[in-house]
Symmetry: C2
Subunit: 300 residues, 2 copies
Amino acid sequence: MFGVTILGNNSALPAYNRHPTSQVISLNDQLFLVDCGEGTQMQMNTYKIRRGKINHIFISHLHGDHYFGLPGLITSYGLLGRVTDLHLYAPAALKTILDLQLNMSDTWLPYKLHFHALENASVLIDEEHVSVECFKVFHRIDCWGFLFREKRNPRKINAEATEKYGVPLSYYEKLKRGEDYVHEGKIISNDELTIANKPVRSYAYCADTLYNETLVEKVHHVNMLYHEATYLKDKQEKALSRFHSTTIQAAQLAKLAEVKKLLIGHFSSTYEKLDDFLTEAQEIFHDTQLALEGQTYLIA
Amino acid sequence: MFGVTILGNNSALPAYNRHPTSQVISLNDQLFLVDCGEGTQMQMNTYKIRRGKINHIFISHLHGDHYFGLPGLITSYGLLGRVTDLHLYAPAALKTILDLQLNMSDTWLPYKLHFHALENASVLIDEEHVSVECFKVFHRIDCWGFLFREKRNPRKINAEATEKYGVPLSYYEKLKRGEDYVHEGKIISNDELTIANKPVRSYAYCADTLYNETLVEKVHHVNMLYHEATYLKDKQEKALSRFHSTTIQAAQLAKLAEVKKLLIGHFSSTYEKLDDFLTEAQEIFHDTQLALEGQTYLIA
């Protein structure tokens, strides 16, 4: 399973029971938290997120609607007796804030909190099945996007063919990595001995940001792009002045980047109904969905 | 109207849809916010609190469950275009934390935020109709209680009597303040010329705290005492080790202080049902109520 569950889809001012930004990305049995607006831990209760499975938290930038829920989550983990290490990727100043808050409350965490300061576009996680990269987006203050990629899946053994050529079990790992096999002096091609596995999938997260076409290269061909769309298209000037994007700008970026699906969110609290967000974006990029709280979107 | 509306009644770990501590005290047309746990601004939306009427916020101590909702509320006031001054009464270190958060997010507030550091038991507000005092309570870190008192109400004019003695209108203010009147060389007592107004009412807030009988003097005879009751009576040792109180300790303090009503809250997240909290407290002090979210308790 590779999916994203929305915990908060609103811009800074909570309204209409919509919450500030937070998302949970699940890949196999791992959960990754992206941004943590106020109330995220309550939203986790509401939507039954297995918060103990989260070992990595990514904070895009230091506007409060993207991290004011983090101190609460971090201290709640302590109260719940967490012992597993927790990795936090965020702009450097967040460490100063958290250290001060923990100090002032005389709080001791029973688990280790590793802080990774976001400084350059780079690979943050490089594990067996997944990699996570960060890249700059274009906001009023320093702000980061994140790219989640499955690793290239190993090929599957074609049991019938390996039996036919008597390939020993000890050679299977090499086959999975794509190597050929020599049988009675003849090269048997890997294609004949293995079956391609599912293609790798990817998810890119871009919030908060101005429309900027240099992002096309970063998110090219991803299976799902989350791009903020704070305003409807008639508010392009307002979007520009506040370093945000409109529906059609998000859709235009999805189109240029030839992504498979687009997910839009970070809706301004001036809008009660969201229907127009979908209609406008779909005019430019058909495979658009609204990021709705409590919904999980499969990345496929 | 003098009342308190509960926005959060739970201890640190949000559970069973109960939120961390926050209360709104309303007196005439003024609102006072006491503590501001994570999610307070959303609770204000849910319970239709007129947040623009709040000009004074009191933070008892710097454990996160009593102030992690404050940075969000403060920035939301900015986004809503607030221009009225806001007064914040809290331990000094909170200013450092807020300044850092506002700085890092490059946030400019369109209103003036006055920070008043809590340092000694003192009168914080002394207005025409209300006074607010702070006093020390007994927690693991520096922690404050608050006492809200109506000011002595001026006496009401007895129109029939003032007419009888021909008291001029210009003298009415003196009558209201309790002065006698001289009519044809004879002293007409104030009692005859005026009617006593409603007696003054008071509300005391004690969270988080150990049971400590020195508080009796502070909250003596208040109309309503809010005292934390984090645990049921069988958890007295746990309460002690965590600097909290039990049901019967809260009730015992109410009894000794001869208050009119007791309100208990800050329930531990280990309890799903709250019935036993009420039963246990009422065994000691009958006029006890549970602080329930969204409920308003009249102070009378």
